[in-house]
């Protein structure tokens, strides 16, 4: 149980960040900053650019240039400061653009591997040799093994319209296609599970929180994960200021969104959200706070009345909660307290508030679902608004993440990929080792019943998933090092990332202000939508080329240049993409105005901020895309999958969302050896692994492991001590942050630090602090997704 500090500050002041402001008088200016300030005054115009890393938002940047160098970065100044039409202000990462651009880690020349794969030894080669080698290997792989053996790696690091992964997809499709993936490392479990409940993933706009009386979020750390000026974090603050709903955060950590002013923090053990939901459901049913009319009219499987004919007796949700289902356990607050670590009286109080306060807006971040039982958790959380009838009304949300607006931007066309085989995105290491054995009912293969091929070549451009963001870096390292399995790896990037070490050919891309491009708003931007011009402000410093140009050259080598370019240059493709977008979004200015002007924001693109309001108004006329057209609390489709798929021991796929304890969760026998739960979280100083190598950001947000004061004391660990976090998969070394902000028996590591294995006393130790040195390659049951928050570890002083 967490006790608030007894102080005069009150609850909201439990944690505060204090900014020490200093007067910006000239007495503080050093000669360099004076010169920069003077130069910024002298040079007009600046160049527009945009930050296109995968944070789910995109922010304009203004680059001030002198002597061929970007000397300062400012952000959007084209709008006012309102809650709707506002400046899309770049965060600290966008502000640190110059440190990326002028990083000593930039890839300068095309290179080929000269040592063992993974060793990181390379030699400079000519572009001619690089292009020919890649083209030859593409041809060889396709001819010898087939297109299913050619894999495009999951890469999300460069999200602009033309000079991005789009160019690579276009090229690979001209080669006859490649093995596809489905899902993502962000939302594998919730993306797979939620459509079984709702037929999709509906989300109300963040602004609807202003119309709620109660805002409850499971792990929605919005001010960090959506922290840019154009993102949902700002929208959340606006909504809270406008409507003053009571706000409650359920999270293992007192995260920075709570610190910025939420009313209550309920600490919960990772992976146990569904148990909390079931106890709340128990209280709602017991106290008659469920909306029975809503459940009867709009839902399938709440009680026996609406259970499908195929379902077994007692398999409805209500029976499960009251202990009349298969397991015979009543899901009481006392039952859940032992699992979640939340005192029963806190659960009772939370249930009472949710049961008696309307409108109630329930949401979840993407952390709770990134677990070995994440599919059940995602659907379970949605049960709360469903039981309360808080769906499709103002001030409510169906229980998924808050929604987004998005302009239908037209990106560089990629052609068609005729390859049918599609693997779960997390299963590519399996597809290298045993692709031939992968099937639909064992490994979630789609498009084919059986893969019949191993991955023999990987193309990776603008991403660091391959070794850093995938699970179990030490095991993945071994798989990648075996050149008899995956025979050829090409990596294109702008930075010498850990993934680059595994390249056979390394291609240097340009970065941001070194070429022309366009960015559209990201996929998690909340209410703002925009098109952002990215102007070439400076020349590439070394022998780098744009991805588009690299792909054009490879296409040329393969005799497909005309098909690749269709006679257009990169800039002409930009104009084409923009004009095609404008056909769908006529509010946008014409090309010349846009390209010469600056960011084009479109307001009010999403017409209806309340998700499922049409369904609520008339469920017959506006059915959901589920087989029944209703909200499927009981899913027959899931029941069929549960009956036909071959699952590993411990895995559960359930027709109704249930809490179950999977491997390496709280209560597992393995806790005798590794007593602490360990999960990763997104922090301010990186987006996934991008920005890791920038000293300004590491200075502000140094990598640490969060450990509770009690756990630290028991291990003789003081704040700042170097510690080792370890399990059977690996050892990570980081300084300890000893804090009350994380619950006992749980430790957490900001995800995305660069994997840096070294030998220490005969053991491999990751001194880079990458959490994936500790995570497992075992996929989750339904999505076959990354369970990267499911880990048991121990911590000791280094």
């Amino acid at each position: 149980m967490f006790n608030l500090p007894q102080s005069t500050f009150g609850r909201r002041s439990f944690l505060r960040f204090s900014a020490l402001s200093v007067a910006a008088g000239s007495f503080l200016m050093n000669p360099i900053s004076k010169a920069v300030a003077q130069a910024v005054k002298e040079i007009e115009p600046f160049y527009w650019n945009a930050c296109v890393i995968n944070c789910g938002q995109r922010c304009p940047q203004r680059c001030f240039v002198k002597g061929g160098q970007v000397i300062r970065v400012e952000t959007d100044n084209t709008a006012g400061d309102a809650c709707d039409h506002r400046q899309i202000r770049a965060c600290l990462r966008g502000r640190a653009l110059r440190q990326r651009l002028y990083s000593p880690d930039r890839l300068k020349y095309p290179m080929k591997r000269v040592g063992e794969r993974g060793e990181g030894k390379f030699e400079r080669i000519t572009w001619d040799e690089a292009i020919k080698t890649v083209a030859d290997n593409l041809k060889r792989t396709v001819e010898k093994y087939g297109n299913e053996s050619l894999y495009w790696q999951y890469c999300s690091g460069q999200q602009s319209l033309v000079n991005s992964r789009r160019a690579w997809w276009r090229l690979l499709n001209l080669m006859g296609g490649y093995l596809k993936y489905y899902g993502s490392y962000s939302t594998a479990q919730i993306g797979a599970a939620m459509p079984y409940t709702y037929g999709g993933r509906p989300g109300s706009d963040m602004s609807e929180i202003a119309n709620a009386k109660l805002y409850v979020t499971f792990g929605g750390n919005t001010l960090v994960t959506r922290g840019s000026g154009g993102g949902k974090g700002y929208q959340l603050e606006c909504a809270k200021d406008k409507g003053h709903p009571k706000s409650i955060m359920i999270d293992p950590m007192y995260n920075d969104t709570v610190a910025a002013g939420m009313d209550q923090w309920i600490p919960i053990r990772p992976g146990t959200d569904a148990a909390l939901v079931e106890a709340i459901a128990y209280e709602l049913i017991k106290n008659n706070w469920v909306d029975q009319d809503f459940l009867d009219k709009y839902c399938v499987g709440y009680d026996e009345k609406t259970l499908p004919a195929s379902a077994a007796k007692g398999s409805d949700y209500k029976s499960h909660i009251l202990g009349k289902g298969k397991d015979g356990i009543a899901k009481t607050p006392e039952w859940a307290a032992k699992i979640t670590g939340i005192p029963a009286e806190t659960i009772v109080q939370l249930a009472k508030e949710m049961g008696t306060t309307k409108p109630c807006f329930v949401s979840q971040g993407w952390g709770p679902q990134r677990q070995a039982n994440g599919e059940e958790t995602a659907r379970a959380i949605a049960m709360l608004p469903i039981l309360l009838g808080q769906v499709g009304l103002p001030g409510t949300n169906p229980g998924d993440a808050e929604g987004n607006s998005s302009l239908p931007a037209v990106y560089l066309p990629i052609g068609k990929n005729p390859v049918k085989a599609t693997i779960p995105v997390f299963m590519w290491t399996d597809a290298i080792v045993r692709g031939k054995d992968m099937t639909d009912i064992t490994d979630g293969m789609r498009g084919v019943k059986k893969l019949d091929h191993d991955i023999k070549m990987i193309v990776n451009s603008g991403g660091n998933t391959m070794i850093n963001q995938h699970s179990d870096s030490n095991a993945t390292d071994k798989i990648l090092r075996d050149t008899s399995k995956c025979e050829f790896i090409v990596v294109c990037d702008n930075m010498m990332t850990p993934t680059c070490r595994y390249a056979d050919i390394l291609l240097p891309d340009v970065l941001g202000p070194e070429t022309d491009d366009i960015a559209c708003q990201g996929g998690s931007n909340g209410g703002t939508t925009s098109m952002l011009p990215m102007h070439k402000a400076v020349e590439p410093q070394w022998d780098q080329k744009t991805s588009y140009e690299i792909c054009r050259l490879i296409a040329k080598e393969l005799g497909k240049e005309q098909e690749f370019t269709e006679g257009r240059t990169q800039l002409q493709w930009l104009e084409w993409c923009y004009n095609e977008t404008r056909k769908k979004v006529p509010q946008l200015p014409d090309w010349d105005t846009f390209w010469k002007g600056g960011p084009a924001q479109v307001y009010g693109w999403r017409k209806n901020p309340v998700a499922l309001s049409e369904f609520r108004a008339d469920p017959v006329k506006n059915p959901l895309k589920t087989p029944s057209g209703k909200i499927e609390i009981y899913s027959e489709r899931l029941n069929n999958i549960a009956n036909t798929w071959k699952l590993k021991p411990g895995d559960v796929i359930s027709p109704i969302p249930v809490y179950f304890r999977n491997w390496e969760m709280y209560g597992d026998d393995l806790q005798k050896k590794y007593p602490l739960q360990c999960y990763g979280f997104h922090h301010h100083g990186r987006i996934h692994s991008t920005f890791h190598n920038l000293p300004w950001l590491r200075e502000q947000h140094p990598d640490v492991v969060f450990i509770n004061v009690l756990d630290a004391k028991a291990r003789g660990i003081n704040n700042g001590d170097l510690v080792q976090i370890f399990n059977d998969r690996g050892i990570v070394e980081l300084p300890a942050k000893v804090t009350s902000r994380i619950m006992p028996s749980v430790v957490s590591i900001p995800q995305g630090a660069w994997y840096t294995p070294v030998k220490k006393n005969g053991k491999v130790v990751d001194i880079g602090g990458n959490i994936n040195t500790l995570t497992s390659l075992r996929p989750s049951p339904l999505a076959k997704g990354n369970p990267q928050h499911t880990n048991l570890v121990e911590v000791r002083k280094a």
Binding site: R16, A19, D256
Partner: protein, 53 residues
């Protein structure tokens, strides 16, 4: 008008430290030199109940 200082509503601060980085960019400051500093202050304590909560 001469700017004499910054108004900061710390009740809304999420600790992102964009202000610190923007300042470093504007003044070309190396690591170790920060004109703008953001500090974290945290408190509270924990007790273990018999049922593990």
């Amino acid at each position: 008008m001469t700017q004499l200082g910054f108004f900061v509503d710390v009740s809304k601060c999420s600790g992102c430290k964009t202000c610190a980085v923007a300042c470093k960019d504007a003044h070309n400051l190396p690591v170790g030199m920060n004109f703008r500093k953001v500090h974290e202050y945290a408190g509270g304590n924990w007790k273990q109940a018999a049922n593990g909560s």
